[in-house]
Amino acid sequence: MTARIPLVAQWSFSQLLFSPRTAGMAILATTPVLMALVYRAAVALELAAQTSSFGVFSILTAAVSLPFVAPMLTLFYASGVVIDDAEAGTLHYFLTRPFARRDLLVGKMLGNLMIVMFLFVPPFVLCYYLTLAGSGWQELGSRFPTLVRDLMAASLGIFAYSGLFSLAGTVLKRPLLFGLFFVFGWQAAASIVPGAIRYLTVTHYMHSLMPHESFQSSLAGLIGQRSSGLEAVVALLAIGTATHALAVWIFTKKEL
């Protein structure tokens, strides 16, 4: 790792941390927490059964956090990996400094990943605690491996999404539109269509890693198209690595 990468990553993270975008994304990231609070309030008012607490966490994870919050957070940061600086008029100042373009983009992508994880992980863990805390410490402890596996699936998924959206941000003029189409158009359609097309989505591999049942994972299991855990891990790592590397290669050649 060259010396400039941590510097750029740290700078990007600090710039993003106090940006208006992060204020908006914090609201998105805490949506599952708000839902968990509503559930806790419902239990307190005896409007919901305490015994379903893990089921609630599963629903929030499989239907909100992993398929919606994780890709949206990643999209709104990773797609701006080049455009943010171009629009702010700061890109040319960086490109005429004596260090490799590769280091600039890698540093920025690392900064983006740091802010996404910073926004995603604490609310996710808080959501776990809020939904399961009412069932006692024993329940919290016994379900902990599930939390770890969810976080691993989320991290690998975010890595893969980051690569895809960074690549879009390096190549396209409107990467946000591409990302929205990818998440809500392509992936939504591909995950319910039988056949190999689902292997061209990130969500398929994330669902394969999740210990929760969801509509997509249930359907995939039903038609025998759920990947093994190892296959899913390898696929997500491969997607993330290849797309990040391609984004860097294009950026080093690109006129800006």
Partner: protein, 308 residues
């Protein structure tokens, strides 16, 4: 023998079907050289090629003997003041410069010291802890210049550096540029305003429509320019007072003002005397001027003359 500081050999640059630069052969050595031409002449394209932000479609560009595109060895010796554009660094001026110096390879202490000195040199020391987004156009332009000079580059490239500056600021920047050239450094500066260029250097490259029309000493060009009145636009909160002050000046071709727009428009055949008067108005009569700009109509006219 050392290679020229900058050398362009048969350089052309296309943007799709549009020709931005057409078979340009130029060399630049130490000292100040100005690229003079109307908007769209290819000045910014040439500067982007020199600073390695663009690659030539054909021909070769070399800076200190090396191709500058994405080349850290070239960028180590280069300072760039980019064309004025949106500049929204969401940090204070001191942190911004310090970060750029760290990117340049200086350690934390050296970067901080260079940032402090550069801000002092451009008169922004008192605003060093203010966010860049709150800066006026003139302050942003000073900051652009500070970041280009802070690492003491061998070649300074400035794209329309006087844009947005008030008369005092223009005077200061012109002095810095001349001083930089006098120290044996290379300065490449673009402008569409002849009389400003004339204050910086005698060496001029005249460009239009992506081609080099002429290069060399400024005197002959100046003679042609003076045959056409200079258009000048001044933003001021006191347009009536300023117009009254300028009304009886020798060489004034026409003048109009708008209280609503807070502007004075005028044409003059003696721009040098006019700018001197304007400086006096600010310094001695405590007049307020926000901005002075000069559309390049007069230069266009000269280029038409040259082309014909």
């Amino acid at each position: 023998m050392n290679p020229p500081v900058v050398e362009l050999c048969a350089v052309s640059r296309w943007y799709g079907n549009v020709l931005g630069l057409s078979r340009v052969d130029l060399t630049f050595e130490s000292g100040v050289t100005a690229l003079l031409g109307p908007n769209g002449a290819g000045k910014s394209t040439l500067l982007k090629l020199v600073t390695g932000l663009l690659r030539p479609s054909s021909g070769t560009v070399s800076v200190f003997g090396a191709a500058p595109f994405a080349n850290p060895d070239v960028h180590r010796k280069l300072g760039l003041v980019p064309e004025e554009e949106e500049f929204q660094a969401r940090v204070n001026a001191s942190d911004w410069l310090e970060y750029l110096m760290r990117l340049h390879g200086f350690d934390e202490n050296a970067a901080r010291e260079r940032a402090r000195k550069a801000l002092h040199d451009v008169g922004l020391e008192s605003a060093s802890k203010r966010r860049v987004t709150s800066f006026s156009r003139g302050m942003k332009q000073r900051l652009r210049i500070a970041q280009a000079m802070a690492h003491d580059p061998e070649i300074l490239v400035l794209d329309e550096p006087l844009t947005g500056l008030d008369p005092v600021g223009r005077h200061e920047v012109i002095d810095w540029i001349r001083d930089w050239g006098a120290r044996g450094k290379s300065v490449l500066v673009s402008s569409h305003i002849l009389h400003e260029v004339e204050l910086m250097t005698r060496e001029v490259v005249l460009m239009t429509a992506g081609k080099v029309m002429a290069s060399g000493n400024i005197h002959e060009i100046r003679r042609l320019i003076d045959a056409h009145p200079h258009h000048i636009l001044i933003s001021t909160p006191e347009p009536r007072r300023l117009a009254g002050r300028l009304l009886d000046q020798v060489g004034l071709h026409s003048i109009s003002f708008s209280e609503e727009l807070q502007q004075v428009k005028l044409e003059t055949r003696e721009p040098d005397r006019f700018y001197e008067l304007l400086a006096n108005y600010v310094l001695e009569e405590e007049g307020t001027i926000h901005e002075v700009s000069s559309p390049d109509d007069n230069l266009e006219a000269v280029f038409h003359y040259l082309v014909e």
